[in-house]
């Protein structure tokens, strides 16, 4: 991709096509974050668009103190959180994990049925990730799909790097436990 500084300069100079390059570069990352945080598929498109509109609106304030991916991830994370607060203020399953305790966190996943047996490992895993608290889902997404470090994830989520590490470890431990107890080895090897 073109040097990010010159790309930002072009956008601020009024070259909207240059912003298209930024969307192409980070669209997948924003899609990952939004899809993992916002449960409603119908809302995801609007939220993802809102993320990039905020990026566009605030681009003049980006001073390259962090990587652009981290900055955009932070906007995506806060946009999703704001959306979730407005959309479903009383829903408890997106509360911070400390509040309920990860081990006692209820899963919305039903017992495996015929459809689950046929589902690929990726779909099974995606379903189980969806049952995790929102901060766990986000940390897993940024670490495994975007290759961010603990500190970069912490910057995006407004958390210390140590907390991010703890979230990741607990999320994986919970996932492993649920996969092992709910699905047979054959399911996971489909």
């Amino acid at each position: 991709m073109e040097n990010e500084r010159s790309l930002v300069r072009r956008v601020l100079g009024g070259d909207r096509a240059a912003f298209g390059v930024i969307i192409e570069e980070y669209g997948r990352m924003v899609t990952h974050i939004v899809s993992r945080m916002v449960r409603s598929e119908s809302d995801r498109e609007d939220v993802a668009q809102d993320v990039f509109l905020k990026v566009y609106e605030n681009l003049h304030g980006f001073e390259f103190r962090s990587r652009m991916s981290t900055w955009i991830a932070r906007i995506a994370y806060t946009t999703c959180l704001n959306f979730m607060e407005k959309k479903r203020p009383s829903l408890l399953d997106d509360d911070l994990p400390e509040m309920g305790g990860v081990d006692s966190f209820p899963s919305s996943t039903p017992a495996p049925d015929a459809a689950a047996h046929r589902a690929g490992v990726a779909e099974i895993l995606e379903r189980e990730i969806g049952a995790l608290p929102v901060d766990y889902r986000t940390a897993l997404t940024l670490f495994h799909l975007e290759g961010m470090t603990y500190d970069e994830i912490g910057e995006a989520m407004g958390l210390p790097g140590g907390t991010v590490k703890s979230y990741l470890f607990r999320a994986r431990k919970q996932l492993r436990g649920r996969l092992a107890s709910t699905y047979s080895r054959e399911d996971l090897e489909n």
Partner: protein
């Protein structure tokens, strides 16, 4: 080495176990149970790194750019323009108010002079006391500052919609 914990295994897979890595590797070579647990985590990591099950958002660049087309460019000039508008929204009505007060005071004074009421005319043309003028100016400024802020919010709201 004692059997590694889940955290030990994850630190290894995250690449942060440092010098402990070789100790863990040699333990895994000897302990089948730990190796099985390690492989479960390794498979989990492989799955977590595969985002193919996440559906793409269709036409995201096109849709964003369409919405941006309805906007102005986020240049520094446009930010300056916002402030100029806001300041004008405050200053111009204030200046108008002060001028009207001045003209009104002058008019009363002239009427007083024409009617031969000299004391009234002098007092009127002298105008209100400075403290009253200052208080009025502050109130007026606050009112119009609120107007300016409302204007800015309205502008940013219209850009979003």
């Amino acid at each position: 080495m004692k059997h590694p914990s889940a955290d030990d295994i994850q630190e290894y897979l995250d690449g942060i176990s440092g010098a402990e890595a070789r100790v863990l590797e040699s333990h895994l070579a000897e302990c089948a149970d730990c190796r099985a647990r390690f492989e479960e985590y390794r498979d989990l990591y492989a799955g977590l790194g595969d985002g193919r099950a996440i559906p793409e958002i269709r036409d995201l660049p096109y849709r964003v750019m369409s919405r941006i087309e309805a906007w102005r460019s986020p240049t520094k000039e446009s930010a300056l323009e916002d402030w100029v508008l806001a300041i004008c929204g405050v200053l111009l009505p204030t200046i108008a108010l002060v001028v009207f007060v001045g003209i009104g005071s002058l008019a009363v004074g002239l009427v007083g002079l024409a009617g031969g009421v000299r004391d009234l005319a002098v007092r009127s043309m002298a105008g209100p006391r400075p403290t009253v003028i200052a208080a009025a100016a502050v109130v007026v400024l606050l009112v119009y500052l609120a107007n300016g802020i409302a204007l800015r919010r309205a502008r940013s709201g219209s850009r979003r919609s």
